[in-house]
């Protein structure tokens, strides 16, 4: 699939935003002063909002985007939209509560955190629900999204703790390292097994030409690229993809972990780690699309 930067940005940044928001509402950062509330709240809303806005850049008719809230009964994209709106409303409400009244009760915090998680889950299900992309259509796909949101969120919390001068514990740092490691660990497994057996569709099942020998495409229906090929025919060489996986792993996991270990207390260090992590997530997300194969490519000559 052709990686679209607007979508990569959308899922990565909003993922980070929802992850951060979940840890925030669970109380991993102290929000006492208004600056802290509005600062952190603003940051979270900025991340989520920027992500959502970015997703509309992908649309042919962004002015109609509001219609996307209507089909939540059947559409994961619609559900994600509704949930994102609810999540933002909930966060606004939570923030107002903190500002005006104080820390909300535990059940509310847990509910809010769950709402963030479910929103991330819905985002990932937009892709994971597609049977046409074998790599995406795997139980580990939403797990990856959730774990990246969680790990990124934790790293962001660590940074905020440093930035706001709040105390950091070794245990928390360890949690951050574990979160990053396990997120990338699951990702590594996902890279190995997701879609490894293909979509189940082959040139034979796509054309019904069985018993005639190996089927192959000898002439495309058109000599210049069409929408399908442009969107879904993107192919990345195995060597290139392997290299990028390492880059993603390094930028998104290795280097941030190193920085956390070496410089867990400094806002600069963790800030850098967060940026590197996001860069790594961008690369990972880019690969998420680039390495994805759609069944339509079978019609254009792939065997499966």
């Amino acid at each position: 699939m052709r990686p679209a930067w607007s979508i990569i940005f959308f899922t990565s940044i909003s993922g980070l935003g929802f992850g951060l928001a979940a840890w925030v509402v669970l109380g991993f950062i102290d929000l006492v002063h208004p600056q802290q509330i509005f600062g952190v709240g603003g940051l979270v809303m900025l991340l989520i909002g920027a992500g959502l806005l970015s997703s509309t850049l992908h649309l042919g008719h962004p002015e109609r985007a509001w219609r996307a809230l209507s089909q939540w009964r059947s559409s994961w994209l619609s559900r994600e939209g509704v949930l994102a709106v609810l999540a933002m409303l909930a966060l606004a409400g939570w923030g107002w509560h903190v500002f005006a009244i104080g820390t909300p009760p535990l059940w509310a915090n847990i509910a809010a955190a769950l709402l963030m998680a479910v929103t991330v889950y819905a985002t990932s299900m937009i892709y994971a629900s597609l049977k046409t992309v074998a790599r995406w259509h795997h139980p580990l796909t939403p797990i990856c999204y959730l774990m990246f949101a969680a790990a990124g969120g934790l790293l962001a919390i660590l940074w905020l703790q440093a930035f706001l001068g709040q105390g950091q514990s070794d245990a928390f740092e360890l949690a951050v390292l574990l979160a990053l490691a396990s997120a990338w660990g699951v990702k590594l497994v996902w890279w190995q097994i997701a879609g490894a057996n293909g979509s189940g569709s082959t040139l034979a099942s796509a054309t019904g030409l069985v018993g005639l020998g190996e089927v192959r495409s000898i002439m495309p229906p058109h000599t210049s690229e069409n929408y399908l090929q442009h969107e879904m025919g993107f192919v990345i060489a195995r060597k290139h993809a392997s290299r990028l996986r390492l880059v993603a792993l390094g930028l998104g996991g290795g280097l941030p972990c190193l920085l956390v270990i070496m410089d867990g207390g400094s806002a600069m260090g963790i800030g850098l780690a967060l940026l590197l992590h996001m860069a790594g997530v961008f690369v990972e997300r880019w690969l998420f699309f680039a390495e994805a194969k759609h069944t339509v490519s079978i019609y254009y000559g792939h065997q499966h």
């Binding site: 649309l59 042919g60 089909q71 059947s74 046409t132 569709s201 229906p221 969107e231």
Partner: protein, 247 residues
């Protein structure tokens, strides 16, 4: 409305005969010319005269080949929306623009509501949907919904453009939900099949397989030998006796 409607009794669709399609692209181009001035926005073509022309089309003809050597079999393969019963393109649509008609099962895009997110194209295993480069909405086969009920057309022309134009008669239109319709009988007689049945979309359109050929090295039937031997004298004997019988 993207929740699928109750399955309708009427399931309009096409039957494509792979035994007869010669890959002439008539259906492809006729569909383009009918629909560019028909349902919804025109079917645009970007860089129409340039280095990378790319347009929105609703029907494409691929060419595949199976086997090797003298037994190789080339198959020309038209592909357009299969108007699936379990259309994933309908359920993924966030705005309800992509819908399946309860009256006749045709899957359509309501272009006023389409936000051009492209998700339906991603969900379609068959590549039946293409985004229009100028309009930013999704385009797909409409089963010529603007022809099949159109009182401005003579009744014999109230069929999809591709069916009317196909020179080899490789495209058939009708109600696949009626087991006694011409198309259903055709499917039964020729063992019509679904594309990618494992995708569970339950396509309504059916494909008829190429009729089997005999293998290139099958033993030939021997010529009905009427001559005694393959020698000149034998031949003339036969000529003479044949002329004799004719009188």
């Amino acid at each position: 409305m993207t929740s699928l409607p109750e399955p309708s009794a009427i399931k309009l669709g096409l039957v494509i005969d792979l035994d007869i399609c010669v890959g002439c692209q008539a259906c492809v181009v006729n569909c383009k010319e009918w629909n560019t001035s028909g349902y919804g926005a025109p079917l645009s073509d970007s860089d129409a005269y340039g280095a990378q022309p790319s347009g929105a089309w609703l029907n494409r003809v691929h060419t595949f080949e199976a086997g090797t050597g003298a037994d190789a079999k080339v198959v020309h393969f038209p592909k357009s929306c299969l108007h699936c019963e379990d259309a994933p393109c309908v359920t993924v649509c966030p705005t309800g623009a992509s819908f399946k008609r309860s009256e006749d099962g045709i899957v359509l895009v309501n272009e006023d509501w389409c936000i051009g997110c492209g998700l339906c194209a991603w969900s379609c295993p068959y590549g039946a949907r293409e985004m229009d480069p100028a309009e930013g909405v999704m385009k797909k086969c409409t089963l010529c919904v603007d022809r099949i009920y159109n009182e401005n057309l003579p009744s014999e022309d109230q069929v999809p453009a591709c069916v009317r134009t196909c020179p080899t008669n490789a495209r058939h239109y009708g109600d696949l939900g009626d087991p006694n319709s011409e198309v259903s009988l055709l499917v039964a007689a020729r063992s019509g099949f679904d594309l990618m049945p494992e995708q569970n979309t339950k396509p309504v359109n059916k494909y008829l397989p190429p009729r089997p050929r005999r293998a290139a090295n099958d033993t030939p039937m021997s010529l009905l030998a009427m001559a005694d031997e393959a020698t000149p004298s034998g031949f003339w004997k036969w000529v003479d006796s044949t002329l004799e019988k004719l009188g």
